[in-house]
């Protein structure tokens, strides 16, 4: 288990380092003078001079990267030119909102996707299987921002049941928080539910066809116990590992969902920063997203390892 952990970490660290290099190098894509471009709307020579100094723009690229990365490691993601705030403060403020949204969406995805996948694997080739696959295909193909708009049309404009936008902190009112998060979480979880359904179905089909499931049947095990005790735990490992990869999709989708429902999270921060040409904030958000994503995958690997007795004991 410990060896496995070290192995995974050893893979995650270079991944993040290279990712940070890519993100840093994005600056080079800016047209014209980097300092002028980085200053965004501001044309104040003082600001430009500050940026030139802050980003050591007179130094060669590798040196600049090293200085920047050193800052990032100490929690210095730069300054938001627009908001006059350290980027790290913005991240700390917005990240929990997006994480809540992502976790609720993952919950939606699991609650819908996993049982549907189990059902369609167990009832393989029946009408229920066809229906479940059809629903999954719909979930994969419907753009989530459009689904969000349709839901606002129905539940906010027509029925008036749920707020179309606005965010309430769970510390203020948990019920209002959940009411405001219900539609965004469903919309965001929808596509992931489809993917989880497909993963679950494939994993369950593999396990249900295995020799040990036949052994269990030969022992006289009931169908329900067969699925829950013998098949599902063994199918869980691929479901967890593949499901974790969907966190990327979740973080991508959150950008759009937050835009549709005006949820003040990470995605909204990023899109606003893009329009404000607040490049330091864009970089900060991207690097934090990548880190979050890698850490979530690492956590999923650990969870999968914990489920797998071969790794747990090793």
């Amino acid at each position: 288990m410990l060896r496995f952990l070290v192995q995974r970490l050893a893979l995650a660290i270079p991944t993040l380092v290279i990712a940070s290099m890519i993100i840093f190098t994005l600056q080079q894509l800016l047209p014209g003078d980097t300092a002028t471009a980085l200053s965004g709307e501001e044309r104040d020579p003082e600001v430009i001079a500050f940026i030139r100094q802050k980003y050591h723009l007179d130094q060669p690229l590798p040196v600049r990267y090293a200085l920047w990365a050193g800052g990032v490691l100490q929690g210095d993601l730069g300054e938001s030119i627009r908001l006059q705030k350290p980027v790290i403060d913005l991240v700390i403020e917005k990240l929990p909102v997006t994480l809540e949204l992502a976790c609720l969406a993952m919950l939606v995805a699991l609650v819908i996707g996993v049982p549907m996948g189990i059902l369609s694997a167990v009832k393989r080739g029946t009408a229920a299987d066809t229906l479940a696959n059809g629903i999954a295909l719909w979930g994969l193909s419907v753009p989530n921002f459009w689904l969000g708009i349709l839901m606002i049309l129905l539940f906010s404009v027509q029925l008036g049941w749920l707020p179309a936008s606005g965010y309430v902190s769970p510390f203020e009112s948990l019920s209002e928080n959940l009411r405001s998060m219900a539609m965004p979480a469903f919309v965001l979880g929808n596509a992931i539910a489809a993917v989880m359904m497909r993963h679950t179905r494939a994993a369950m089909l593999g396990v249900l066809g295995s020799d040990y499931v036949r052994t269990a049947r030969a022992k006289g095990v009931s169908p329900l116990r067969l699925i829950l005790r013998h098949a599902l735990p063994n199918a869980a490992i691929p479901i967890i590992t593949l499901g974790a990869l969907e966190f990327g999709q979740l973080l991508s989708g959150a950008v759009l969902t937050e835009q549709v429902f005006s949820v003040p999270g990470f995605g909204k921060l990023m899109v606003d920063a893009v329009f404000n040409r607040d490049y330091a904030t864009v970089q900060g958000v991207v690097i934090c997203t990548a880190t979050t994503y890698v850490l979530l995958n690492l956590a999923a690997d650990l969870l999968a390892a914990f489920v797998n007795p071969k790794l747990r004991r090793a």
Partner: protein
Amino acid sequence: MAQARQTLLDVRDLAVAFDSEGGAVHAVNGVSYTLAEGETLGIVGESGSGKSVHVLAMLGLIPRPPGRITGGQVLFEGRDLLALPERDLRKIRGGQIGFVFQDPMSSLNPGMTVAAQIIEPLRIHLGLDGRAARARAKDLLDLVRIPNAGARLDQYPHEFSGGQRQRVMIAIGLSCRPKLLIADEATTALDVTVQAEIIALVQELKREIGMAIVWITHDLGVVAGIADTVQVMYAGRILERGPVDDIFRDPRSAYTLGLLRSLPDLSRGRAGRRRLHQIEGAPPDMRHPPAGDPFAARNIYATPRCLTEAPPLTQAPGAAPGHLVAAWYDLPARLAAEEAAR
């Protein structure tokens, strides 16, 4: 000897098919036989002969669809298993009929401890739970000669060697003192020395428990050591059946003869070494089973009648009682003629 005892299993005209894209595959085509209490029946055949499928099918263990039973009856202690609802069949599986499967690596659940897997049938069929079940599980591991059984109960299958895993499988198969143990290629995946150990173990346990055994294998050599009766299957049919010694001494089916000739004869030593015989040709396409004797196309002794009409399984003339064969040709006569010509 077997005839004196009560009939345990009576298979009547069992037929099984699998639906596939190119049409139904007729895997088992009218198999009938009986098994007495305490008898050991060795069923021999190559893969696709229907030897495993018909046994799995009678206990509802083939995937359905695509598999389906197309006819017949299987009486276990007088009750037709094919007519039983799944719920009642579950009570028989693992309770009165135990199983040992081929690959002990894949046949044990990798995510459950050995104890949990042994206790499962104890709880389902005997209502044992808690400490009593655990004690019984330990006894079972002792029974199959796994040293230090108490300490190994909470280990996972991957912590056992291949031979030990097969011993665990046997412990599970025997856990509820079944009247019948079905061993499906139980030693095929094991090393030769481990194979011998497992066979010896099963024979010992049979003396202790007295269950009937159906031992399914492609290896006629394994059958020689364990079975009372041997049954040779090919293309979903029984071609020959009889007491083990008779089958080896006096085979009446050309297919059995071919199988016997492909066995290395170690008793003859170096001097007796001869080129191992290989049966020419391939088994028939089971989507369109041949009308006549299914082995006819590969049989040098086949008569024209073999190609058109399927021979019934009947007492072989001049052979020991209970030695049955499905053949239109007279194998001993043909062999004698060959010998004379030489």
